[in-house]
């Protein structure tokens, strides 16, 4: 079974429309200027530490991660973890003006094959930001090695 849980990986695109909530209130918000026409957001709770998870099964390999998100003047910083490993560290989603469909690329993330839990967690904010809101859309795992 160990062998079958560690197949060679391939690309995987995950639409973030529903997660298992750890903290806060997360919901779909329709937004016509976004790719896929919505964001998944903690706009209702907007607290530091707000978090949700999504189960992830992926083959072993090295991946470039592409996260699609929104920047705004009320947004926080984001940690993305695979199990307990931080793979995107305090991504600052603050901007003085709304910036839709931003893409953050995290290169050369080595992932062991098998069952994982993907965490999305608000972790702090830019001093200029008014809040800890997060607006996410999708994440792509693109295998490079």
């Amino acid at each position: 079974m160990t062998y079958e849980l560690q197949p060679v990986g391939k690309n995987y695109d995950m639409v973030i429309f529903d997660g298992d909530v750890v903290q806060g209130t997360w919901a779909i918000v329709i937004a016509n200027t976004k790719v896929l026409n919505f964001v998944y957001s903690n706009i209702a709770s907007h607290a530091d530490g707000d978090e949700f998870t999504i189960p992830l099964v992926i083959g072993k390999g090295t991946y470039d991660l592409h996260l699609v998100y929104t920047k705004d003047d009320n947004q926080g910083k984001l940690d993305v973890l695979i199990d307990s490993t931080v793979v995107i560290n305090q991504l600052d989603t603050y901007d003085a003006a709304t910036q839709s469909n931003q893409i953050h690329e995290e290169t050369n993330v080595a992932i062991g094959g098998g069952l994982h839990t993907l965490h999305f967690r608000v972790n702090g904010k830019n001093a200029a930001s008014s809040n800890h809101v997060m607006r996410l859309q999708m994440i792509s795992f693109r295998k490079v090695a």
Binding site: M14, V15, F17, I30, N37, V57, L115
Partner: protein, 145 residues
């Protein structure tokens, strides 16, 4: 693809519900920017037993299934099946007032793995509902064990 290949341990699968194979009724994929992914698939025939299917390959494993859909006062109950295995039983999509982008989570669905016909079939309605509409957007199979 060999039998062994299709029955190997599964990974997450996300499916935008568009362009299915109609078994009964008339189904329309309608652009509507009030919905996630900017569309919804619904049965203009609004009859009990209306059904549409999609080809889908899923590896063996235990999954949480997330379905995004619309509720309204004219909507019916839906069975979601993989071949002959009903995985969501008579989900009631009636509500007195319209609600868009509602998500239902069905936990711990055990699958043997293989190539399936994913079926969405109207199966009855709430006593308060005026008809048998079904409007769906998205289904996600997230492997948890």
């Amino acid at each position: 693809m060999t039998l062994h290949d299709v029955q190997k341990d599964g990974t997450n699968v996300d499916l935008i519900l568009t362009d299915g194979d109609v078994v009964a009724g008339t189904w329309v994929d309608n652009i509507d920017n009030a919905h996630i992914t900017n569309r919804h698939l619904f049965n203009t025939s609004q009859a009990n037993n209306d059904e549409i299917t999609f080809d889908i390959s899923l590896g063996r494993g235990t999954y949480d299934v997330h379905l995004a859909y619309k509720t309204n006062s004219s909507h019916g109950k839906v069975d979601v099946s993989l071949d002959s295995q009903v995985i969501i039983n008579q989900l009631d999509t009636y509500s007195a007032a319209q609600a868009l982008n509602v998500t239902h989570e069905e936990s711990n669905v055990v699958l043997k793995g293989g190539d399936y016909k994913l079926s969405l079939k109207l199966n009855g309605k709430n006593a308060a509902s005026s008809s048998y509409f079904l409007s769906v957007n998205y289904i996600s199979f997230r492997r948890v064990a």
